[in-house]
Each structure stands twice: as structure tokens, then as C-alpha cells.
């Protein structure tokens, strides 16, 4: 693990120790966030799955209805009936905050009941099957809209989970180990310096003693000669 290149001083050591404390706390918080996100995500994705299954069933039924309608009417008549269109459906948008992930909520503008029951085309040239098909499609559409919200929520949450996981891992496997290692190496270096200083002092003292002994021997020799 690469250690951080810093001067091995006591000040650096203190700084690194403080950073380590912060990193550990951040790691713990992010890990909690990831776990909670995961919990929410599993709920959302489960809902996503059941809604998708239901939607695919409903939509297939609606498609069958249209096939029937085309069979009972001239294709051009179906075309022109549908070409009439209807009042544009507007969608309100709200956002829901799930663990600080902004998730969209779609609110279809309520169309007044009277209008939504009456098909937008003339009844003379169309068959009952077409009405039925459109009704089925309307039913399927509600499911489709809630599926859209659930699916988007799942995707956005998955994205956030992935990001959080990367952060947790980089703290856990990169930053924290390298801080620990650097702190260790600085401590070792400081101790080494201390030992070096001590041995140097001892050496100096030895030399001083040696010199003192030699001087005294010299004095005694001179005194003996005198």
C-alpha cells in the first residue's frame, strides 16, 4: 500500500491521526448509508418487477383488443378514429426524496370524468370493440405510469448505491490503510531518530569520559615525575 509522502515530523503525525479519525467516521457513515439505500432499493425493485409483469399482461390484452377492433372495422376507419386524438394528457411532476436521491413522481392531470368516458371519435363509424380496446389501454396506462416512476426510482437508486459503494471501498481499501501505514512509518521514524539521538549522546559521553580518564592519567604521570 502506497504511503503518503510527508515529512516525518510530530506535527505531520498529529495531522494524519486527525485525518484517520475523520476517515473512519466517514467510512462508517457511508457504509450505513449504503446499507439503508440497499434496503430501500430492494423494496423498490421488487415493486418494479411486479408492476412490470402486471403492465406487460395488461398491455398485451389491450393489443389483442385492437386486433379485434381492426377485424370488425375497416382499417382506415380505425386509423381515422384514432387520428382524432384527444385532449393532450398533461403530467405534473413531483419529486420524492429517498435517502437524498431525488426520485420523480408522476401525477397525471385529472381529466374530468365525463370527457374520459366518451371516446374522442364519432360512434357511428366505429365498433364497440374499439371502445373496449381503448378502455383496456386506459387501464393499462395507469399501470404503465406507476411502472415508469418505479423503474426510474430503481435506476437512480442503483446509481447512487454504486457511487456510495465506490466511496466506501476507496475509504476502506485505499485511504484508511495508507493513513495507517503512514502513521506507522512516521512513528517508527521518530522512534528511530530518538534512538539515534540517544546512542549519539552515549557515544559523546563515552568519548568525554575517555578523554577525562586520559587527562587524569596524564596529570598523574606528570605528578609522579615531579
Amino acid at each position: 500500500m502506497a504511503e503518503i509522502r510527508v515529512n516525518p515530523t510530530r506535527m505531520e503525525l498529529l495531522r494524519l491521526k486527525r485525518r484517520l479519525v475523520v476517515a473512519r467516521r466517514g467510512h462508517k457513515l457511508l457504509k450505513d448509508k449504503r446499507d439503508e439505500l440497499m434496503k430501500r432499493f430492494l423494496d423498490v425493485v421488487r415493486e418494479n418487477r411486479t408492476r412490470r409483469e402486471a403492465m406487460e399482461r395488461q398491455l398485451a390484452a389491450a393489443h389483442r383488443g385492437f386486433v379485434l377492433a381492426r377485424a370488425t372495422m375497416r382499417p382506415e376507419a380505425v386509423e381515422s378514429a384514432l387520428m382524432m386524438g384527444s385532449a393532450p394528457l398533461m403530467l405534473g411532476l413531483d419529486t420524492l426524496n429517498v435517502m437524498s436521491v431525488e426520485v420523480p413522481v408522476f401525477l397525471p392531470e385529472p381529466q374530468d370524468a365525463a370527457r374520459s368516458d366518451v371516446p374522442p371519435y364519432g360512434l357511428a363509424s366505429t365498433s364497440g370493440e374499439l371502445d373496449g380496446a381503448i378502455l383496456a389501454l386506459r387501464g393499462a396506462f395507469e399501470g404503465m405510469l406507476s411502472l415508469a416512476a418505479a423503474e426510474k426510482a430503481a435506476q437512480l437508486l442503483a446509481d447512487e448505491i454504486e457511487r456510495t459503494r465506490r466511496r466506501v471501498n476507496s475509504l476502506e481499501y485505499i485511504l484508511i490503510p495508507s493513513l495507517v501505514e503512514t502513521i506507522h512509518s512516521i512513528t517508527a521514524k521518530l522512534e528511530e531518530n530518538e534512538r539515534g539521538a540517544r546512542t549519539r549522546l552515549m557515544k559523546v559521553k563515552d568519548r568525554l569520559v575517555e578523554r577525562a580518564v586520559a587527562e587524569r592519567a596524564e596529570r598523574e604521570r606528570l605528578a609522579g615525575n615531579a
Partner: protein
């Protein structure tokens, strides 16, 4: 205010006109990618696209996936489903959990996952 868009072959999407959606009929690759741009231009917050159309423009849809809007939702066409929608749900799970737990609905509660 936003609108809802539908892209796909004529038979699959025409019915949505009766619901007041933005219906864009497109079948070739170029038509579909033009339709996607048109849907964005018309402020579609939700964009339904038939699976048969979605497989032709995977890159463009992928780019929209991480944006907050629009929500792109693959739907089965009259020719049935390709399983693309479910596949996408599984992809999402794989991205979040890290492994493709196929029966993800049976995953144990609060399962610890590190990767």
C-alpha cells in the same frame, strides 16, 4: 407541465392517441432516434418505447437512463415482448448489488453485500 410520449410501430402505438399521449410512429433506426429527440423536445417526462424499437437505439436510451428525466420505459409491442424490460430490471439489480441474483425477489432481507 410535462407530456407522455410513445414510440414504436404504428399498430403498437396508435391506440395511445386516444389517451392524449404524444405518439411518434417510427420503425427504422433513424426514425426512432429522430423520434427520441422529438420526444425530448416536446418535454416528455415519461417515454414509452416498444422493445422492438428500443433494441435499435440502445446507446441513446442508455444516455437517458441516468438522467432524472425522462423515464424511458420499454413496453411490449403487438409482436409481444422480447424480455428486454425485465432484462433491464435485472441489469439495475446487478449494478446495485454487484451480482446478478436472478431470483432477486427471493433475496434475504437486509443481506450484507460488500461489492
Amino acid at each position: 407541465m410535462y407530456r407522455v410520449g410513445v414510440i414504436g410501430d404504428r399498430d403498437s402505438v396508435m391506440g395511445f392517441r386516444a389517451l392524449g399521449l404524444v405518439v411518434l410512429v417510427a420503425e427504422t433506426r433513424e426514425e426512432i432516434s429522430a423520434a427520441v429527440q422529438e420526444a425530448l423536445r416536446q418535454d416528455c417526462a415519461v417515454l414509452f418505447i416498444t422493445e422492438h424499437a428500443a433494441v435499435l437505439v440502445p446507446d441513446e436510451l442508455e444516455a437517458l437512463r441516468l438522467r432524472k428525466l425522462p423515464a424511458v420505459v420499454p413496453i411490449p409491442s403487438t409482436r409481444g415482448t422480447l424480455g428486454l424490460g425485465m432484462e433491464q430490471v435485472k441489469e439495475t439489480v446487478k449494478k446495485a448489488v454487484g451480482v446478478d441474483i436472478l431470483g432477486f425477489d427471493r433475496a434475504p432481507e437486509g443481506k450484507e453485500t460488500d461489492r
